[in-house]
C-alpha cells in the first residue's frame, strides 16, 4: 500500500537545541524521525497514525561513539554499522555487535539507529537484550534539562516508555569491565538475516571457581517488553554452576517470561526454546 502524504509533515532540525525547542513548544505533536527503518515501513503499510515528524538525522550532538576509561557512550544516532565499526564496542561488548550484525542486513544497518530502535519499543527488537545485559543507561534531554535512567526501567509496558513527549534520547552508555564474563547472544529469527526474532536471548555471567558471582539474563519476544529474567538470575546468583542450580534457573525462567502466539511463532515454542537457550548458556 502507498499512503497519501498530504496530511503528513516533516521538518528538519539543525541543532539539538532547535530540536528540543520544537518538541517543547507543542509536546506530543512532533515525533522524532531518525533513520526511518521502522517508521517508513509503517507509513507505506498505511499504519502510521502519527503525522508530524521532526527529522533529527542531522544532529551532530547525537552522533558518534566515544570511550573513556570506564564508560562507552553511544550517541542515539549511532547506526548498527557504526557499532560494528567501533573498536571498543567490538572488543568489549560482543553481544551488542552480535545484535547489530543480525539486525536486518547491510542496508538496514546503515540507517537504523540505537535511539530509533529503543524508541520504537518493540519487544522483538534485537539490540535491547544486549543493552540490558550490559546495564546500559539512557540519557534523555529536553528544554528542562537532562536526566539519566537505567535502560531496564525505560520500557514500562507494551510500546510505553519512560519518555516525556518533549524529550529526546541523546545517548546510551555502558560501563566497561565485563570482558572476562562468559557471554552469549542468540537471536532465533524466522531466517538467518532480514528477520524479526521469534525469541532473543542475551546473557553474561561472571563465573569464578565454578561459582556465579554475578549474572545478567535478558530476553526479547517473550513479553510485552524486552525483559531481564530476574527469577532466573536470582536462582543463579552466588550459586555453584551445578545441575540442580541449572534446573532451578530454567524452572525460574518459566515465571519470568510471558510469551504469546503470533503470526511468527507460538507461546509453547518460545517457552521451550527460552529454557533451552538458558540451559545451553549454563552448560
Amino acid at each position: 500500500m502507498r499512503t497519501w502524504l498530504a496530511p503528513y509533515q516533516m521538518r528538519s532540525a539543525a541543532t539539538l537545541e532547535e530540536a528540543l525547542t520544537t518538541l517543547s513548544r507543542e509536546p506530543g505533536r512532533w515525533r522524532p524521525f531518525a533513520g526511518g527503518t521502522d517508521l517508513m515501513v509503517l507509513l507505506e503499510a498505511g499504519r502510521l497514525p502519527h503525522q508530524h515528524f521532526l527529522d533529527i538525522w542531522p544532529l551532530r550532538e547525537l552522533q558518534g561513539i566515544t570511550a573513556s576509561a570506564d564508560v562507552v557512550d553511544i550517541g542515539a544516532l549511532a547506526t548498527y554499522t557504526d557499532l560494528l565499526q567501533d573498536a571498543v564496542v567490538a572488543a568489549e561488548f560482543p553481544l551488542v555487535c552480535d545484535a547489530a550484525r543480525q539486525t536486518g542486513a547491510v542496508a538496514i544497518q546503515n540507517r537504523g539507529t540505537v535511539g530509533g530502535n529503543i524508541a520504537n519499543a518493540s519487544p522483538a527488537a534485537d539490540l535491547p537484550p544486549a543493552l540490558l545485559v550490559y546495564d546500559a543507561e539512557v540519557e534523555l534531554a529536553s528544554v528542562r534539562g537532562r536526566r539519566r535512567i537505567p535502560y531496564e526501567r525505560f520500557h514500562t509496558g507494551y510500546k510505553q516508555m519512560e519518555l516525556a513527549p518533549d524529550e529526546l534520547i541523546v545517548r546510551v552508555s555502558m560501563r566497561r569491565g565485563r570482558r572476562s564474563w562468559r557471554q552469549t547472544y542468540r537471536k532465533v529469527g524466522t531466517r538467518r538475516a532480514q528477520a524479526i526474532s521469534k525469541i532473543c536471548f542475551a546473557a553474561a555471567a561472571d563465573v569464578q571457581d565454578g561459582v556465579v558471582r554475578d549474572v545478567r539474563i535478558a530476553l526479547g519476544s517473550v513479553a510485552p517488553t524486552v525483559i531481564r529474567a530476574r527469577g532466573a538470575e536470582a536462582a543463579l546468583h552466588g550459586q555453584p554452576l551445578a545441575d540442580g542450580v541449572r534446573r532451578g534457573a530454567a524452572a525460574a525462567l518459566e515465571a519470568d517470561v510471558a510469551p504469546i502466539d503470533d503470526v511468527r511463532s507460538t507461546a509453547a515454542y518460545r517457552r521451550l526454546v527460552a529454557r533451552n537457550l538458558l540451559e545451553e548458556f549454563l552448560a
Binding site: 500500500m1 502507498r2 499512503t3 497519501w4 502524504l5 498530504a6 515501513v41 503499510a45 498505511g46 542486513a105 542468540r186 532465533v188 524466522t190 531466517r191 538467518r192 538475516a193 532480514q194 528477520a195 524479526i196 521469534k198 503470526v263 511468527r264 511463532s265 507460538t266 509453547a268 515454542y269 521451550l272 526454546v273 533451552n276 537457550l277 540451559e279 545451553e280
Partner: protein, 743 residues
Amino acid sequence: MAKERSIGRAIPRRDGRAKVTGQARYVDDLTMPGMLHGVTVRSTVPRGLIRGISYGDGLPWGEFTIVTAADIPGRNVVALILEDQPYLADVQVNHAEEPILLLAHHDRHLLEEARRRVHVEIEPLEPVFTIDDSLAARPVVWGPDNVFKSYLVGRGDVDAALASAAIVVEGEYETGAQEQLYIEPNGMLAVADPSAGVTVWGSMQCPYYVHKALAELFGLPVEKIRVVQMETGGGFGGKEEYPSVIAGHAALLAWKSGRPVKMIYDRAEDMAATTKRHPSRTRHRTAVAADGRLLAMDIDFVIDGGAYCTLSPVVLSRGTIHASGPYYCPNVRVRGRAVATNVPPHGAFRGFGAPQSIFALERHMDRVAAAVGLEPDEFRRRNFIRPGQVSAVGQVMRDQVDMSGILSRALELSSFQEKRRRFSDENQRAGGRRRRGIGLATFMHGAGFTGSGEDHLASIVAVEGTADGRVRVLSASTEIGQGTNTIFAQIAADALGLAVDDVDVAQPDTAVVPNSGPTVASRTCMVVGKLVENACANLRAMLESGTQLLETRAEVSEAIRSHVRQHGTLRASAQYQPPQGVRWDDEKYEGDAYGSYAWAAYVAEVTVDLTTFEVKVDDFVAVQEVGRVIHPVLATGQIEGGVAQAIGWALYEDVVWREGRMVNAQMTNYIMPTSADLPTIRVFFEEVPYAGGPGGAKGIGELPMDGPAPAIANAVGHAVGADVRRIPLTPEAVARLLEAALV
C-alpha cells in the same frame, strides 16, 4: 542439419547487459501521457452477499473513474477452463480479496486513500476453509458437491492385493499453500476503447491466455485485442493465469476513462489476493512384499483449489499422474480430487501438483522401506521402473531410463551411505545439541502438457529472414528469467548454420507472433524449442530448394538476403505434431501421459539444532537426466533456483490463514530464504537424448521443485527420528514432533 556450434555452450544470455545496467523495461517502468493509476477494491469477507457500496466523505470522487461489474462490455467471466470466476463480483463474493470495484486516478497516493474509503457492505454466508469440511459439504459452496474435478486412474486389482498382503503401510501427508513471491509484483498497463480495441503491456507468462480472456471480457473480435509481454520479473506459474485478471481490470478502467491505465499491485495485495500453490492432503496405503517389492499402491490425493476452478483440473491431473512415482507396481489406484474452499483461488506454481503428490510419495517410501527393514536407497532400487515396463496410467516407458544409475551417482556425490551410518552413530551417542541427517528422494517429471494437451494447443512458431541476412524467431514463449530468448537463439543458430548473434527473438506481442502456447509445463525448451528447430529447418529448405547446399554462415546469410531481395519476404513456420506412436485416451485417462520424463535423485544433508529446533540444509546434491543440456549455466540456474524454492516450501514458507485471509502478507512475515540460509546446491546432469526435443533436450523447469522437500523431510527423520508428515517443517513443527515422540 548443420552441426552444432551453439547448443551446449554457455554463451552470455542475450538480455544480460540490459538487466545489469538497469535498462531492461518492466511494466512499472512505462509511462504514457495522460496515464492514470488503477487499484482494486476487494472483499474483506470470505463469503457473502453484496448489499451495498458506499464512498467515504471528504474525497473528490468526481475525479475518479469507478468501474463495477455493470460496466463490463462483454461477459463478466475470466475465460479459462470453466466459466465460474467473474472479473468483478456483483451479487456474491466467494473469497476474501475478491475484486468488487475498480478505481483510477492520476495521483497514485490519493488513489490508495480512496481505496481505503470505499465501503462494501456484505452479508456473510457460511464459508468453508478446509479440505475435510469441503469434502464433507460443510457447507456446499461450489457446484453440487464442492468438487471441481476428480480422476480415478490405475491398473491391476489394488483391493485384492491389499487384502492378501502381509505388510501394509498407511500414511497421510499434507502440504501447505506456497506464494510464488516473484520479486516483481503483478502489473499491467492498458489502453482501450470500443473502436481501436484493447492493448495491454505487462508482466506475464502467457500472452495468448490474456488475449483470449480480454476478447471475452470486452466482447471484441480477437483482432481487436493486442497483448505485449514486457520484461517480466519472475513468474513461476504465478503469472500463468492470474495476469488475465489484472489485465482485464486495467483495461476496464482504460475503457471507461478513455485514458491509459497502469495497475501495479503492492506486495501485500499480490501475496494475499493472487494465486498460490494448492495445499494438498494425500493418503497412502501400500502393500509390500518382504523383499521390498511394491505389490499395491492405493493413493487418495486431494488438493484445495480455493474459491474458483481456475486451473485446478490440470493441477490435479499432473499431481495424480505423478503420485506413484518412478516405480513399477502391478496394482495402482490413484483417486484425485480438487475441492472448493472460500479462499482466493489457488493456481499454477512450478511443479503444478507434482511436488505435492511426490512429497507424500517419497516420504511414504522411506516409511515403507523401514517397515521391510531396508535402507531407503536399496528399497527404491528394487522398485524403479525400467524401460518397457508400464506406469500407473498405462504408459509404456520408452525412455532409456536408468534410475539405478542416477541414484548411484547421487549417493556417491553426497557420500550418502557413509554419512547415513556415521550420523546414526553420532546421533546415538547423544552428546551435544545438534543432530545430523541425510535423506533422499527419487522422482521423475513429465514435460509438456499432459495427455492430449499439446495436440489441443497445436502450437505454431514462425521464423523470418530479414533484408540484412539475419533471422527473427517469432513465438509466444516468454522470457521470464529462465533463458527462453537465449536458448531459442542457440537452437535457431545451429539449425540454420548461423551465429547466435545473427538471430533475434521477437518480443512476444500477439500482433506479431503466432500462438506457440503458454510458457508453462516445462514445455518451452522441449516442445516450443523443437518447433523453433523445425521452423528453421523449413526455412533452410526454402533457401536450399533448387540450389546447392549452404555450407557456411556467410552463405546462409547471403541466401537470406537475396531471397528477401527477390521475394520481399522470407518466412517459414512449424506446427506441433504429436510424436509417432504416442497414444492417449482422454476418456479413460490412460496412455502416454507425457512425451518424455526427466529423471532425478536428490540428496539433502541437514543439521537439526535441538536448542531451537531449526533445520539447516548443509549440503544438497541434485542429479538429473535431462536429455540434452542446451546451455549449461542456464540449465544449472534452473535447478539451483528450483531447489531453493523447494527448500523454502519445505522449511520456511508458511501461509498463515485467519478466516480465509492470509494474515502474513508481508515479506517480513512470509519467509523465503536469503543468501544466508541456503546451502551450496550441487547440480549434475546426465544426457540421454530425447528425439522429440531440440538437440535431444527434455523439459526441466519444474523438475527441481519435486525432490527437495521429501529429501529434507527424510533427512530430518534420519537426524532426530521424527516422522514428518507435513510441510512446512518449521522449527515449531519440529519441536512438536519431538515432544510427541517423548510422550
